[in-house]
């Protein structure tokens, strides 16, 4: 697959950064799975109230995390929304829906990885 939902290389890289401890990685992923939905909600709320500043910031944050945890498609959409908000375009709705969708998929994949035991093959 050339555009996977979860990019294992990125996860491996993350694990290297934090010291090659699979338990730490598990903890991190769990934290992401807790935080990310909140971010998605923040994005939706900001979009609804046309709060461009918060929209920019929230999508930026989710983008960075998405990159860390190997969700390139999610990251891409977040980046698009971030720039869009920054540049003042006022049609975030479609992008917001994409983000929600992409996160749903990424989140599911990550949960499967966690359930499979040792996170990385």
């Amino acid at each position: 697959m050339d555009n996977p939902v979860i990019d294992h290389t990125a996860l491996r890289r993350l694990m290297r950064v934090i010291g090659d401890d699979p338990d730490d990685l598990r903890e991190l992923i769990e934290s992401f799975l807790e935080e990310a939905p909140v971010l998605v909600l923040d994005i939706e709320a900001a979009a609804a109230s046309m709060d461009m500043e918060n929209l920019c910031r929230a999508s930026h944050t989710l983008k960075a995390s998405a990159r860390d945890f190997g969700a390139p498609r999610l990251a891409e959409v977040c980046e698009a929304l971030e720039y869009s908000a920054r540049d003042g375009h006022s049609e975030p709705a479609a992008l917001v829906r994409s983000i929600a969708a992409e996160y749903a998929m990424a989140g599911r994949e990550l949960k499967i990885l966690l359930d499979l035991g040792p996170v990385l093959p």
Binding site: L14, V17, I18, G19, L28, H60, A64, S65, D68
Partner: protein
């Protein structure tokens, strides 16, 4: 050495977790906070060695945190690395660095880069801390040197422990400095003590010789048909004139303030009136050697008073000394040839009042002598006061001694008594100033011995075996009653000027007889 601590400031928990893990993986300790305010509180409570600071935070953002840190003197030296997630936002990074950030790190950093950037910042901080500590200790050492120069402090009070315990060149310098200071202090102390002892010893002998001659001289005078009142008038007058003349010549006359005058008046009554009249009276009836022996009782009397008042400790040794002294006194009384007749008891009692008066005088002078007044002038004024008191009494009793114009034996004796007593007083006051009252108490021996020697020389008196025994017991007793040298001897300032202090009252009470 404890590992260095890094504070991670980020409002997202996943980021905090990630950074903390990365930091710990590098071997440092990691602490995490979720916002700017908590970061400042944390740092104030537990300063860290470095901070990884997220710029984009709600509320107090990274820039606010930076500003706050640099304004706080305690925190401004902690290196801050801003973590920037903004891909092309050089402007934010630049702004952060202008606000005082040490470096920046991208959010998706490689651990190698994290290690390099953290490592550099921490090392810089380490160097800054070491340098500051070094400068502080050098300052301390310099201060200690200045202290030694300007005022003499005992070396152990320089408080250089944290310098001398170091294992680096500064520590070595500190140790050398301290041992040199100690050596110089020791040498100085020994030198001062030797000078004091030498000067003091000479003065002790001088005081003994001057005082010792007075009793035999006054016995000679009574043999030449003088009377106590007339003798007292003349000796006081001549003494006052000599002292005041010398003081005036040296420009040391004190201002006639009431405290000075009052002191001289009271002192004059004790020394120039009471002591002199009694001494001149008893030497007409008692052998001079006996007078000398009885006067040595002063040493014991003062000790008794001090022990009773609990100013001094009555150790077994000193009580033993007291007993010896009493034994000696008994022997003196029993010694044949001391005197004969019914008046025996009366005159011995009168003689015994002399040591009592000497003790009182000693306490009085120690407590009340005005500071910074020349001793010669003080003595002169006191003798002048005594002269003024006795003169009318002598005139009324018709006992004014007519001396001169021809200089016969009596005239010479009177002059010698006057000069010897002045010398004895002035030298004794000097002795106390130079060597302290404790050292001065050794005049007990020199006066007793000199008194006996002078009596034997001038009057051909001889001591019976019993009297020799009494002398031996008295001297031994005085030795045991004496207090030990005090540690106060070790306190001195450069230049030395051992100041008489109220502690001399206590020293006097310990039993140091002194010149009259």
């Amino acid at each position: 050495m404890a590992s260095e601590a890094v504070l991670i400031v980020d409002d997202h928990s996943t980021n905090r977790l990630k950074m903390a893990a990365a930091v710990r993986n590098l071997g440092y300790e990691a602490a995490v906070v979720g916002g700017g305010r908590e970061a400042l509180d944390h740092l104030r409570a537990r300063p860290c060695d470095a901070v990884l600071l997220d710029i984009l935070m709600p509320g107090m953002d990274g820039f606010d945190v930076l500003r706050a840190l640099k304004e706080d003197e305690a925190l401004r030296d902690i290196p801050v690395i801003v973590v920037s997630a903004l891909d092309d936002d050089t402007a934010s990074v630049v702004r952060a660095i202008e606000l005082g950030a040490e470096d920046f790190l991208p959010k998706d950093f490689d651990p190698v880069i994290l290690r390099a950037r953290l490592g550099t910042s921490l090392q810089k901080k380490r160097f800054r801390d070491q340098e500051r500590e070094f400068r502080r200790l050098v300052g301390k050492l310099t201060e200690a040197a200045e202290t030694l120069e300007s005022q003499s402090l005992r070396p152990e009070r320089l408080a250089l422990d944290d310098i001398v315990s170091r294992q680096d060149p500064l520590g070595r310098l500190g140790r050398v400095f301290q041992s040199m200071a100690e050596e110089i202090y020791e040498r100085e102390r020994r030198l001062r003590r030797n000078i004091r002892m030498a000067r003091g010893s000479l003065l002790v002998i001088a005081v003994g010789v001057s005082w010792g001659i007075i009793a035999p001289l006054s016995r000679m005078a009574s043999g030449l048909d003088s009377d106590p009142l007339g003798l007292a008038v003349w000796t006081n007058l001549i003494g006052a004139a000599a002292c005041l003349g010398v003081a005036a010549a040296r420009g040391r006359l004190p201002p006639p303030t009431w405290p000075v005058l009052r002191f001289c008046l009271l002192w004059g009554i004790i020394t120039g009136v009471l002591e002199r009249l009694i001494l001149f009276s008893v030497t007409g009836h008692v052998q001079a050697t006996t007078v000398a022996l009885i006067c040595s009782l002063e040493g014991f009397m003062v000790f008794v008073v001090a022990a009773a008042l609990r100013i001094e400790k009555a150790s077994l040794r000193r009580l033993g000394g007291l007993l010896l002294g009493l034994l000696g006194a008994v022997l003196v009384i029993k010694a044949p040839g001391t005197l004969s007749g019914v008046d025996e008891a009366f005159w011995l009692l009168m003689t015994a009042s002399l040591p009592l008066l000497f003790s009182i005088e000693g306490l009085f002078v120690a407590a009340r002598r005005p500071e910074n007044v020349d001793v010669t002038a003080l003595t002169g004024l006191a003798l002048l006061a005594s002269f003024a008191i006795i003169l009318p009494v002598a005139a009324a009793a018709g006992e004014l001694l007519h001396l001169g114009p021809a200089v016969g034996r009596l005239e010479v004796v009177v002059l010698l008594i006057a000069l010897a007593s002045v010398l004895a007083i002035v030298l004794w006051l000097l002795l106390v100033d130079v060597a302290g009252a404790v050292f001065a108490s050794q005049t007990a021996y020199s006066i007793t011995i000199a008194g006996i020697v002078w009596s034997m020389l001038l009057l051909d008196e001889r001591l019976s075996p019993l009297a020799w025994g009494a002398l031996a017991l008295m001297l031994l007793g005085l030795y045991f009653v004496e207090p030990q040298a005090s540690a106060a001897d070790d306190e001195f300032r450069l230049p030395v000027r051992l100041r008489r202090a109220k502690s001399d009252l206590v020293a006097q009470a310990r039993g140091e007889p002194h010149a009259r």
